[in-house]
Amino acid sequence: MMQVNDELFDGEIRKKIKDEIKYIPKDINKKIDDAVNKVKKRKFNLKKVSGICIICIFGTLLLGIAMPTYAGNIPFIGSILEKLNYKNYEKYGSDLNISKESNGLKVNINKAVYDGLEITIFYTVKSEKPMESEPNFIGAKLKINGNELNFPGGGESGEISDDKKTYVGVLKYTVGLSKMIWQNTKEKEKNNEDIEISNEFVLNLDIDKIGVGKWTFDIPVTVDKINDKVKESKCNIDLRNGYNINKIITTPINTELEGILKDGKTDNEFLQFYVLDDKGRHIIDERAETYIHPDKEGNSHEYLSYMYKPIYDDTESLTFIPYTDINVSSDTDNSIAAKLNLKGETTLYSDDGKEYATITKIETINEKTKIYYKSQYGVDVSPFDIKNNKTGEEIIAFEDWQKNAEEILYRSSSDEYVVTCDKAITEGDYSIKMIDQSKSIEVYNNDKFTIKVK
């Protein structure tokens, strides 16, 4: 379970580890060089050369558009959003452009987006000299209207330029859990570290990195630009082991399910959920956080926050299928495989002989193939891979995991899941391989529940 200072602890560990190993010993470096020298140059074929030409033309187009934009110093935040999968954020944020300089490093806060659940800060760091490593704000002190926020979750991501002089980054702080605790606890139960997070506040970001620099920012944050699209619905769903789900919040950039485990029940296996909308689309989970909050009378309640990707514009309801992680297996090679039957069903079995999943149909139309399957393990059956046994070509590879997970569809009429790939499977000798999750998770299909969001 997430502890109060896990985020801080993780930040410290990351920093210390990187400080511990800053270079590669000479002899090991030489071994890497030896290996590089061993690799042989391959020959191009005609098809690949034409590919290079296309890339060159594309590159010219990109350069033509990209460089003047950069040279003109027009904010390039839009492209960061796109690259780091934040394109939905663009229209909901406030453009800020607050700059501070320290030790030759100019930090510019470009934009802040807040939907009541998460504060997202987009920033750039510019340096006259190439930066030794990607800058980070790990350990930054965070205050809301001057009050220190003790347990924000979140993370950092970003991109450094090739010349190492510009870094564009995103800081995320989840505050949904803090808000939930504030709202769910009565005045007499509140502790000193609990603070109210309203719809509009000043975020004080205090970055003090020894040997790097010191920056402080007062960032105005408001939910105004997004508030009319935020929808909250209360519910009261009792689940196994004392779990109670009491609220769902949907925003254009997040979906959050809230719940509570009452006093005395906090040692249970952690319940998580697969989420499907009424059109059968998979809403991918982002993270789950819990916080055990002891009230002043000594009763501890565990507050639960499950974050998912945003719903689609036409999503009307969400179905949650509970599951728990039942076992920590040391065996990471738990794959199962079978020859793929193109005309009929293909069943894959766990090593205890139980049916794990059945491919019910393979359907290729217009060079796209739909693979239908049934399994009590639902979306977790994906990723799987399908390989042409004669040519070795991977029709679906594990690397396509993210894409498959996002595009997986559930058909409630036949209780089937559908994965689509961009290649044809018409005839030939194919095999299918998947990871047997049956020893690692337990899915409670009978406990699934649906909440209307429209």
Binding site: V39, G78, S79, E394
Partner: protein, 177 residues
């Protein structure tokens, strides 16, 4: 369109060249990821020769397999996965050796670094915790990406990390983070 697309293009282009057999481009990618690869190998393996073997095999196998990389943007994740497989293979072989000769006592690699309390602490974790911990702390990977690389559910990653944190907290309380 704008700056980030340009960065992205450059990166993709280097991977694309490497996929077509361009050794210089491949070398560039290895150079870019060299320290990260070393950190990961150093976190998982204890023996110097094992670290060297894992890194050499990773370089060779990644070059051999690079044409199979589907999405150029995921080069780093892809090569880390190859490295993890190489490390796993070495750990498996070492286990077999241990069974044959129980007196084999692998000496923990002591390199020129003086202050490596944390790396040593991570080295002392069980194999399953070590892999998760290395990817999370050394590579800053998300739980989702770790789940993908290790082919285990995200919940398992989460619980492994929780257990690893407990152990690391114990160690770090002795040496002070």
């Amino acid at each position: 369109m704008e700056l980030i697309s340009f960065f992205n293009y450059r990166k993709k282009s280097t991977v694309s060249k490497a996929k077509k057999g361009d050794k210089e481009a491949f070398l560039g990618l290895i150079d870019e990821n060299r320290l990260n690869l070393y950190r990961v190998a150093r976190g998982i393996l204890k023996d110097k020769e094992d670290i060297e073997d894992a890194l050499q095999n990773t370089v060779i196998h990644s070059f051999e397999k690079i044409s199979s990389l589907k999405n150029d943007e995921y080069f780093r994740t892809w090569i880390i996965r190859i490295l993890i497989n190489e490390c796993n293979e070495i750990l498996r072989k070492n286990k077999r050796v241990m069974h044959l000769d129980d007196n084999t006592d692998t000496e923990i690699y002591s390199d020129s670094y003086e202050n490596m309390d944390l790396t040593r602490a991570i080295n002392s974790l069980s194999e399953e915790l070590r892999l998760t911990t290395v990817l999370f702390y050394f590579e800053d990977m998300s739980l989702k990406d770790i789940a993908k690389i290790l082919k285990i559910p995200e919940g398992t990653v989460r619980s492994r990390l929780t257990r690893a944190r407990i152990k690391l907290r114990e160690v770090m309380s002795e040496v002070e983070v």
